[in-house]
């Protein structure tokens, strides 16, 4: 890990688990190297990066990381879904094109699952999606999520037992799924699982991941290419910073957007599946 990117990593009891926070290059110290997990090869050329698309997804969750990851020389980006073709996002207006089916992509090196403002439960109940995630995860170099994509990783059985982050609105549901919620962290790494907070956090996560796989210089080149030098004109990007009034209205809008017929049906399906999984997991005495 000699070429470890500049960041501070606050370790936990397991040293394959780390919470990553911002650190300036000149003040950071190298993170302790995980010793009990497989460390992805530094020469990540030729890696196949599968970005999951599904109906109702939030576009920026995927396109932020995509725009950074696509700039890695020699990597292959695939936009994977149940079927090839247009996937309508949660705005109902923007379509993104899926290039490959899940079945066509049995061995991706990196998997990224975006979240949704409207259809996270629908995606959690999508057996083709969660079945594919469960099947490919043991073989990936990195399995990653952005925003409420973490709940989909949880539904696939990948995340329970791990610390993780997600959109602030989804931290409690994620914890109910057996995941250790880290609501104050923008990026959480647990072994080869990397989860990012809401929507735009995927950009930070992708740059971190690029540094981890391809080294600091490549991450910095890509940061410069996408001119990621953020200067938000407001400072309300996290519940700890927003006013109570802004927070209240944001919660009301998230609640409204996520409460649709598709989600209502899907939540029932997911709850049934989780209950049955517990029942089927019981040992005879």
């Amino acid at each position: 890990m000699a070429d470890h990117p500049p960041q501070s990593v606050s370790g936990t009891a397991e040293n394959d688990t780390a919470t990553i926070t911002k650190a300036a290059a000149d003040t950071a110290t190298p993170a302790p190297a995980p010793t009990d997990v497989a460390v992805p090869a530094r020469d990540g050329r030729g890696l196949q990066i599968a970005i999951v698309l599904y109906p109702g997804m939030t576009a920026l969750d995927a396109i932020g990381p995509y725009e950074a990851l696509r700039l890695v020389p020699g990597s292959e980006i695939r936009l994977v879904s149940n079927e090839v073709g247009p996937i309508i996002t949660d705005s109902g207006v923007l379509a993104l094109g899926a290039t490959h089916t899940f079945a066509e992509t049995p061995t991706p090196d990196v998997v990224l699952v975006p979240g949704s403002a409207t259809d996270t439960p629908t995606a959690m109940a999508n057996k083709e999606l969660t079945g594919w995630l469960a099947a490919v995860h043991p073989h990936t170099k990195w399995t990653t999520s952005v925003c409420s994509g973490a709940l989909i990783l949880a539904a696939a059985g990948i995340l329970p037992g791990h610390p993780a982050t997600t959109h602030w609105f989804a931290q409690k549901p994620m914890a109910l799924l057996g995941v250790e919620s880290r609501p104050t962290e923008r990026i959480v790494r647990s072994g080869k699982i990397l989860t990012a907070a809401g929507v735009s956090a995927g950009i930070d996560a992708a740059l971190w991941l690029i540094g981890e796989i391809y080294g600091t210089e490549r991450a910095e080149i890509i940061q410069l290419l996408i001119e990621y030098d953020p200067q938000p004109p407001y400072d309300a990007g996290h519940p700890s910073k927003a006013s109570a009034k802004v927070m209240g209205k944001a919660v009301a809008e998230m609640t409204r957007d996520s409460a649709n017929v598709r989600s209502t049906v899907a939540i029932g399906t997911v709850a049934w599946q989780l209950a049955l999984t517990k029942i089927r997991g019981r040992k005879r005495h």
Copy 2:
């Protein structure tokens, strides 16, 4: 302008021109109100927002602002292009769906033009695109660009004579087109024209614009909804911050990506058009 969002605005000789820099909400003072330009109505509900798509565009240039603008209640987002259907972006992998043609969208309230790593000259030579921009601009409330989209606004005759910003790689070409380059600024406003620096700067610009049109509270709600609380793991997002080695490699990659046959042909076309425009503009003595 009583509800002006919190930001610092450094005025210039013309008071309809301002360079916008980051400022924490608690330290900012209200900007002086422009007096000689039309100020967009505060109640921006029902605004039609046209995001331009074209082959070879950079996806995040459009999708960053889209993800913020789509969260404005009551606004209509259109993804406009020469034709309806899939538009292949500069990665050659990701397609975005155009929902409306330019002809179908004669009176947008807000126009946003993304840049491209490969095809900015191609878009500058696209007469259907630049002709549409020139035709709708006099009637817009805001005309905006992200990244090298500024060069396309320049090719449409909208930007020359104005201060503006663009991707660091495109600042010199933009200046050659008669635009006052502001290479150190992430967002520049000149009257109703708003230009943003490279790629991810579109997110900052969109939040600023939402604050300007819809007020501070709406901008803060949207910042919270997309959890735009950036914590980049590196600090190389601007030429002033990147190392010489990282800068050199980034320039080499930008040069390589932008030097394709399409651009070579288009640059000739654009140069011809600019020369002829100058010749045709000559007065008899």
